[in-house]
């Protein structure tokens, strides 16, 4: 079906010495970028927060600079069209764009209307429109969902619908800006599978920004690395991700399999180039297994908390007004000082569960108790002092006009004296590396920074229990690690930390215990190290163990011994000369 795509006369995308500065900014968001994207290529773009990835995406469809204004240097041609000379609405015929949050792109009340929306605006004839809608929905595997309301779809389905809407225009180029960051691993696989099909079967040219290093290594033809607006590296995934030192210098993350081999290479013979995919690593494992020492250091024992339960959930069920059963007979206990990871598929009930802790939702059946007192009897203001909640979408918690006002808001309402208030605001903002941005408008910050503003506001309240709902979404590796380091510090201070996330590879070094929900039911509740090895059970909740866990298991099978390691550092430590620590 390659003939259905708009055929450009030249390379789909050419950037020549492109620099761009936003109207109110001092520095350049893009700087002297020259790049050609070949027809039918899948180009991945990676880089730390603020590297210019989103600006580059917006430049490809002319929104930068036509909508934002500012200073623009150089030239971008897409399908032979100059993005400064051709209006955005004309470029939209050639460039489809899918953003991070699909809900910001869904504007109609049915799936087929959503796909039809851009076509109607482009005056595509009715019969042609029907044909394209049918084709686009088939491509993204949403055929049969035509009459469904977009908001009734799962997060992965919504993102696939956004792709279908962009696809129906039959663009020469499809630009995807972090389309998987809010999705569970199953949703990520769905989106990457669709994207790969578009690329391989239809020959569509793709530009995709993503922090999902493992998936990017698997699917992309080339990877471009941006830093401070400059293109600092460009090559195949193997060429780019194998440069572990360069990536670390930019606070970027290589796939776990690459990092593991890189660490092992400090002590053992490891052939180069380093593997960037599991499939490349597997043939090398027998050679590695043969080098395993007779014994490896044992893993640290699971943490034990003897204190009485701080939070008790007893036979909790919750049914929403529309009849959706979000939680079904969930029972669990969380003790003071625990660090708990809650995972599961999108729509599995994770957020619904923690909202009961704060009495933001009341049980349909069952009880939630905080230190033995039912939360439904406690006012939300009291619960807010005890339990800090960092919501999944930071924008829902931001309403002040400066960062420091945002952090000070709750303290002012709690009557905290001005001197202490100032000290707490400074401490929280410094911890979140936001003190320099204290006078900025919170909504002017990137999403990752906005999340940190909300975390800073919660930290300033000094609650006993802190719930982080998907705190690493939209963060680069450095940002995600910074937030998790904060959770680690809070945990060491004796706070109870509860983190909801799909990013299991990040949590292996932090959480003690893992709770998995599936369709509102408790599927798994175990120490983290044991839980991550429950591959079959995790798969039921659309989760997959990190690559390090998979490597350890494969090595263990080859060496006929248990290998309970869950991080690249732990796997590599087994190969250290003294069998010691990394």
């Amino acid at each position: 079906m390659g003939d259905v795509l708009s055929e450009p006369s030249t390379a789909p995308v050419q950037l020549a010495q492109v620099s761009y500065r936003y109207p109110s900014a001092r520095g350049f968001a893009l700087r002297d970028i020259s790049l050609t994207v070949r027809r039918g290529e899948f180009l991945g773009i990676i880089g730390p927060t603020g590297a210019g990835k989103t600006t580059l995406c917006l430049a490809l469809n002319g929104i930068v600079p036509q909508f934002y204004g500012g200073k623009f240097y150089g030239r971008i041609t897409v399908a032979g069209l100059d993005t400064l000379s051709v209006p955005v609405n004309t470029l939209a015929r050639y460039v489809g764009t899918v953003f991070e949050d699909p809900e910001t792109q869904l504007v109609t009340t049915s799936v087929e209307n959503e796909v039809a929306f851009a076509l109607e605006n482009l005056s595509v004839p009715r019969a042609e429109m029907r044909s394209r809608i049918s084709w686009a929905l088939q491509v993204v595997r949403l055929a049969g969902y035509e009459k469904r309301h977009p908001y009734d779809l799962s997060a992965g389905q919504k993102q696939r619908l956004a792709i279908a809407a962009a696809l129906a225009v039959r663009p020469a180029l499809l630009v995807l800006d972090e389309p998987t960051s809010q999705l569970d691993p199953m949703g990520v696989r769905e989106v990457f599978a669709v994207v790969r099909r578009l690329n391989r079967e239809l020959g569509m040219t793709l530009v995709m920004v993503s922090h999902a290093a493992e998936a990017m290594a698997e699917y992309a033809d080339r990877v471009a690395v941006l830093d401070a607006g400059r293109l600092v590296a460009l090559g195949t995934p193997r060429q780019v991700y194998a440069q572990v030192g360069m990536l670390q210098g930019l606070a970027l993350r290589p796939p776990q399999v690459t990092r593991t081999f890189h660490l092992i290479g400090q002590w053992r013979e490891v052939r180069t180039p380093l593997p960037v995919r599991m499939a490349e690593a597997r043939p090398r494992l027998p050679h590695l297994a043969a080098q395993l020492p007779p014994s490896c250091p044992p893993p640290p024992p699971p943490a034990e908390h003897q204190s009485p339960p701080q939070l008790s959930v007893r036979h909790l069920s919750h049914t929403f007004g529309d009849g959706t059963q979000a939680l079904r007979d969930v029972s669990l206990e969380i003790r003071a000082g625990e660090y708990v990871l809650i995972a599961g598929q999108n729509g599995g009930g994770k957020t619904t569960l923690v909202k009961h802790f704060l009495n933001l939702l009341q049980p349909t059946a069952g009880q939630v108790l905080l230190d033995g007192v039912e939360t439904r009897t406690l006012p939300i203001s009291t619960l807010a002092r005890r339990i800090g909640y960092v919501a999944q979408n930071p924008d829902q918690q931001i309403f002040s006009t400066t960062v420091q006002d945002e952090v000070a808001f709750a303290l002012r309402n709690l009557g905290v004296p001005p001197d202490e208030r100032r000290a707490r605001v400074r401490g929280s903002l410094t911890a979140m590396r936001l003190w320099e941005r204290r006078d900025a408008h919170p909504l002017a910050l990137p999403r990752g920074d906005r999340t940190r503003v909300v975390i800073a506001a919660v930290l300033a309240m000094r609650p006993d229990i802190i719930v982080f709902d998907e705190p690493t979404t939209g963060q680069d590796f450095r940002g995600a690690r910074a937030i998790l380091e904060i959770t680690h510090q809070l945990h060491r201070q004796g706070k109870t930390v509860i983190v909801i996330t799909h990013h299991l590879y990040l949590m292996a070094a932090y959480a003690e215990r893992m709770i998995v929900l599936r369709d509102g039911q408790l599927l798994l509740d175990a120490p983290l190290r044991a839980a991550l090895r429950e591959e079959q059970t995790l798969a039921q909740a659309y989760l997959a163990p990190p690559q390090a866990v998979q490597l350890a298991r494969a090595l263990g099978q080859l060496g006929a011994r248990p290998m309970p390691w869950i991080t690249p550092e732990e796997v590599a430590a087994c190969f250290a000369p003294d069998g010691g620590r990394v």
């Binding site: 020549a16 010495q17 492109v18 620099s19 936003y22 109207p23 109110s24 900014a25 001092r26 520095g27 350049f28 700087r31 002297d32 600079p65 036509q66 909508f67 934002y68 204004g69 500012g70 200073k71 623009f72 240097y73 150089g74 030239r75 400064l84 209006p87 955005v88 609405n89 309403f399 006009t401 900025a440 408008h441 909504l443 002017a444």
Partner: protein, 260 residues
């Protein structure tokens, strides 16, 4: 910033197809949505006009300051029309509601301190003066309302007209464009008092000719109307300060006739 970019600097243009009078269509639609949502919220007791007034009246001028007079009037009228249809309890006569929205935004957008549109206020002032003469004149001359109740009952209307004719019109505009957010808020309050007051005058004149409310209503309006109008102005100041601070910080493209 010491190194110059390698590429040649290009002229950046916003193409007409996506803008109305220099305001992006996306802004017009977004602010129309804000007006619609605020139309759901009633803010007063039912008096002369027969229904309570919607919170959206407080932001008609803001829409004009953000988008300019033409795009602002378009945005407000779309928002007011949709609002009147989905929240009829805050509307007496739909076309009067829409006219009121258009006048509020257009007048605000015309309160400029220089530039090619600096004289737009003159025909508007003449129109509003005529409107006030019809309004108060009908009350005093035709219906025999005493002068004092008529003046007190129409205080917000004549005070707005006076402030519109005096240099306070451009003072409000300068404050709205200030970098000091306290001045911005003050400018928004003063400007909303003026533009929303003149919008109220236009609507009241029409409604008075339609309903011709009884004389005691003038006495009841005397203490209540200024309070209501202060609330409108406060809404404009509070909502406007947040919106303007956000738009400045976000660094989005500024509509051609924006005053912030």
């Amino acid at each position: 910033m010491t190194e110059s970019p390698l590429g040649e600097e290009r002229e950046v243009r916003s193409f007409g197809g996506i803008a109305v009078d220099g305001a992006p269509v996306a802004y017009i639609i977004s602010l129309a949505g804000v007006v619609t949502v605020l139309a759901f919220i009633p803010l007063s007791v039912v008096l002369g006009g027969g229904s309570s007034f919607p919170m959206s009246q407080g932001v008609y001028p803001l829409v004009g300051w953000i988008l300019g007079p033409v795009a602002g009037a378009l945005s407000s009228s779309i928002g007011a029309l949709v609002g009147a249809l989905v929240a009829p309890y805050t509307t007496s006569v739909i076309w009067v509601t829409i006219t009121s929205a258009i006048v509020g935004s257009f007048t605000a957008g015309a309160m400029v301190d220089g530039g090619p549109r600096r004289h737009w206020w003159i025909p508007l002032a003449a129109l509003f003066t005529l409107s006030y003469l019809l309004y108060a004149g009908r009350a005093v001359v035709q219906n025999g309302v005493e002068l004092l109740p008529a003046l007190l009952g129409s205080f917000i209307d004549w005070s707005a007209l006076l402030l519109f004719i005096l240099p306070t019109r451009t003072l409000a505009a300068r404050w709205i464009g200030s970098s000091d957010m306290r001045r911005v808020a003050t400018g928004l309050f003063l400007g909303t008092w003026i533009a929303a007051g003149l919008s109220h005058l236009t609507a009241s004149t029409v409604m008075y000719f339609i309903i011709n409310w009884p004389n005691p209503v003038w006495m009841m309006m005397a203490p209540m109307a200024p309070v209501e109008h202060a609330v409108r102005s406060l809404i404009g100041a509070v909502v406007g300060s947040g919106v303007i601070a956000g738009m400045r910080a976000a660094g989005l493209v500024k509509p051609r006739w924006a005053m912030y």
